[in-house]
């Protein structure tokens, strides 16, 4: 009798303390690079530049620098109670002088085997690599193609529902989300594309992602719509007399990982108040033991702003948790007068990505 009581007491005590389990994991990238040549944009007074990362304004110039693509991330997940977890992810980017910010902060509740609802601050899952953009270890190249990932807003605060089902041989998963983002001083618009502090708001965001996976094939469909509001130095920006404009994203991605061959492709279109912004990416790689050489071509096309990048590189998985990467990028900026971004450039980048 006594023994049973003791056992029950111990079991109750321990099961309670195990619930506060906190798991810490992280990722890091130490990348250095420089231009080998560049034209810059003389009209804007911009010297030779390679804009490797639009949203964080990660820029390479003539001198060796480790800042644009280096970053550190720490994630802490706490298991609160049955099915409920809380997660925060702190990221410090070289381009932001390693200021640590909460990139993700959300609670997650597992409704059942197929559905999970989440609420909080998350990354906007527009393109294939949007979600895990900072976790460089997870993808082939040094960075997801800059020409594709050019948007100034990449987080949102809201609610979303994730689901996954098995349909015969296909694994289907998806995400439906809604929320908004209000960036008081948007870095890309305030510093690179302008000189005034710009407040960028994306509101009434509604979007969805649907993925299908079967063995070596991965297909993803994405659609999102939002309302854009902008203030430049406090003054509302007007488009056709209105202070909001609607944007619609649509995209498709197909990835193949078959017998050491990798084929990655993505095509996306943003329609903003009548104007179209098209991007696409095509990349191929071949795995030879721990080495994976790759090539990649990415393109951005809109009325006036046109640029593309051809890349050649290699990934070496020299360690079970780390990969060395070397990449050469050749950027061609064919923007019409006044709509160039950073001019033509050629640059090399190398370094190590890891997860822990």
């Amino acid at each position: 009798m006594k023994k049973v009581l003791l056992v029950t007491a111990i079991a109750a005590l321990c099961s309670h303390s195990v619930q506060a389990e906190v798991n810490i994991s992280g990722f890091a990238s130490v990348m250095g690079g420089k231009l080998t040549s560049g034209t810059g944009v003389p009209e804007f007074g911009l010297g030779p530049t390679f804009l490797a990362n639009y949203p964080t304004v990660g820029v390479y110039e003539d001198e060796w620098t480790f800042k644009p693509d280096s970053k550190f991330g720490l994630q802490m997940t706490a298991d609160l109670t049955e099915g409920l977890t809380a997660t925060v992810q702190l990221v410090g980017r070289g381009a932001d002088d390693f200021e640590a910010g909460f990139e993700w902060a959300y609670v997650s509740y597992e409704l059942n085997e197929h559905w999970t609802i989440q609420a909080g601050k998350k990354r906007l899952p527009l393109y294939y690599y949007s979600d895990f953009f900072d976790v460089s270890y997870a993808y082939l190249w040094v960075r997801p193609a800059a020409d594709n990932y050019t948007w100034q807003i990449f987080n949102y605060t809201g609610v979303n529902a994730q689901f996954n089902y098995q349909l015969g041989d296909w694994a289907m998963s998806g995400n439906i989300y809604t929320g908004r983002e209000d960036d008081g001083e948007n870095k890309l618009l305030s510093e690179f594309f302008g000189s005034q502090p710009v407040r960028e708001i994306w509101k009434d965001i509604i979007g969805g992602v649907l993925s299908f996976n079967r063995d070596w094939l991965d297909l993803r469909f994405t659609y999102m719509t939002y309302q854009n509001e902008r203030y430049s130095a406090g003054v509302p920006v007007l488009w056709n007399g209105k202070n909001t404009r609607r944007g619609n994203f649509a995209g498709f991605s197909a990835n193949v990982d078959y017998n050491n061959w990798l084929l990655l492709s993505e095509v996306n279109r943003l329609t903003l108040d009548g104007g179209d912004f098209d991007t696409y990416l095509i990349s191929a790689g071949y795995r030879i033991e721990q080495w994976t050489p790759y090539i990649s071509y990415a393109d951005f096309d809109s009325e006036g702003e046109v640029h593309s990048t051809a890349s050649l590189g290699v990934r070496w998985d020299f360690h079970s948790s780390a990969a060395f990467k070397f990449q050469f990028d050749d950027v061609t900026d064919d923007g019409y007068d006044g709509l160039q971004v950073a001019g033509d450039s050629r640059a090399i980048t190398l370094g190590i990505d890891l997860v822990f």
């Binding site: 480790f66 702190l90 390693f98 079970s320 948790s321 780390a322």
Partner: protein, 373 residues
């Protein structure tokens, strides 16, 4: 009954979290308060008590990934930055063997003896590192560092080589200006044996500072055909160098620490800086009182405008910029460290700083607690 009991114990043992990549967490914190004498201001303190200026809190995450690779990230929140968190350093380490180690990422610039732990108040006896010497800025660079530790007979030797770049801000003429220091190459060597250690450090880099406040002057000078004067004043990829010497004596409870540094940047109006300090302390069980003397001597470069005629219209602004760098300051510190707990130390320090050119004196008293955890 027996079966249930055994099963439960096994279940409990198994349900404890199994670490995947183990993450080690350490941290340190300083809670400091200071107040300058009425009308004075020193080291960021005014004559009103300030608890934020020198307080900070840091957490360090380190993970051993196996196969000689590990990663370290230190997150710091400083009171004088409103406690906004920043990755103070973040680097990968590859331990080649027992003697050689390579770090890559955001690193601490190895200028001074206490560069590596200047934020870890617990690591030294004073309340703050001597400001006349530890005032260069550029504390963190992004780059690669190679360490070698070995011994020469009975003496321990550690060598550090560093290559990197700095991209941040400096304070020039009272205003903040963006600065880059590229192609930083440096080496430091420390020898220690029993109660004595000596250190020497030498670093060079190409300094560029963008100070738009000087643009009107530079435009005027260029217009007058005096491009050579502009080149002699501005910070445009100019060679900077840092030389430092340090020593530490710790014997029979008597402590002595001294450091000397010499900094110059060629072809700029930056004065040639000579700074040093000497600190003497005595350990009495868990109390260590100390006294220290600091001197900062900056020699301006009047030779920049020496060739100009006396009635030259722009002579006055040039001379004032160049001579504003002339500076001489001495400071006395009297303080005490009290180790009241194995992981915490109480500090109190009185400082009297005198500007030898203007004969202005500023006094400061500060108290604080440094913790490690």
């Amino acid at each position: 009954m027996k079966k249930t009991w055994l099963a439960t114990i096994v279940a409990l043992a198994v349900s404890s979290p199994v670490a995947q990549a183990e993450v080690n967490i350490n941290g340190f914190a300083s809670i400091k308060a200071g107040k300058a004498s009425s009308g004075d201001s020193l080291y960021g303190y005014t004559d009103e008590i300030d608890f934020k200026n020198e307080s900070l809190f840091a957490v360090q995450f380190q993970s051993d990934l196996g196969e000689k690779l590990s990663v370290t990230a230190q997150l710091m929140a400083r009171g004088n930055n409103d406690f906004d968190a920043e990755f103070e350093w973040a680097f990968l380490t590859y331990q080649l063997d027992d003697a050689w180690r390579v770090n890559a990422g955001r690193l601490r610039t190895p200028f001074y003896k206490y560069s590596d732990f200047r934020d870890v108040g617990y690591a030294y006896d004073w309340l703050r590192t001597p400001q006349s010497v530890y005032d260069l800025g550029f504390d963190t660079i992004e780059g690669v560092s190679v360490y070698h530790s070995g011994s020469i007979g009975d003496t321990q030797s550690s060598v550090q080589l560093v290559y990197g770049a700095y991209d941040g801000e400096v304070t020039l003429q009272g205003t903040k200006a963006p600065a880059q220091i590229n192609n930083i190459f440096g080496a430091s060597w420390e020898l220690s044996q029993d109660w004595l250690s000596v250190r020497v450090a030498y670093l060079v880099g190409a300094v560029t500072v963008d100070a738009p406040v000087f643009n009107p002057l530079f435009t005027a000078l260029n217009g007058a055909g005096l491009n050579s004067i502009v080149k002699a004043i501005d910070f445009d990829d100019d060679d900077g160098s840092f030389f430092g010497l340090g020593m530490n004596y710790d014997r029979n409870d008597w402590l002595m620490v001294a450091e000397y540094t010499h900094v110059k940047v060629k072809d700029t109006f930056y004065a040639n800086q000579d700074s040093y300090y000497l600190s003497l302390g005595r350990r009495f069980d868990s109390v260590t009182p100390y006294i220290s003397y600091e001197k900062d001597q900056d020699d301006a470069k009047p030779e920049i405008y020496a060739g100009l005629p006396a009635n030259f219209p722009l002579l006055l602004p040039i001379a004032s910029i160049v001579m504003s760098q002339e500076f001489e300051n001495t400071a006395w510190n009297l303080g005490m460290r009290y180790d009241f707990h194995p992981a915490a130390a109480f500090k109190v320090e009185l400082t009297s700083s005198e500007n030898n050119m203007t004969n202005q004196k500023d006094s400061l008293i500060a108290v604080g607690v440094d913790l490690v955890f």
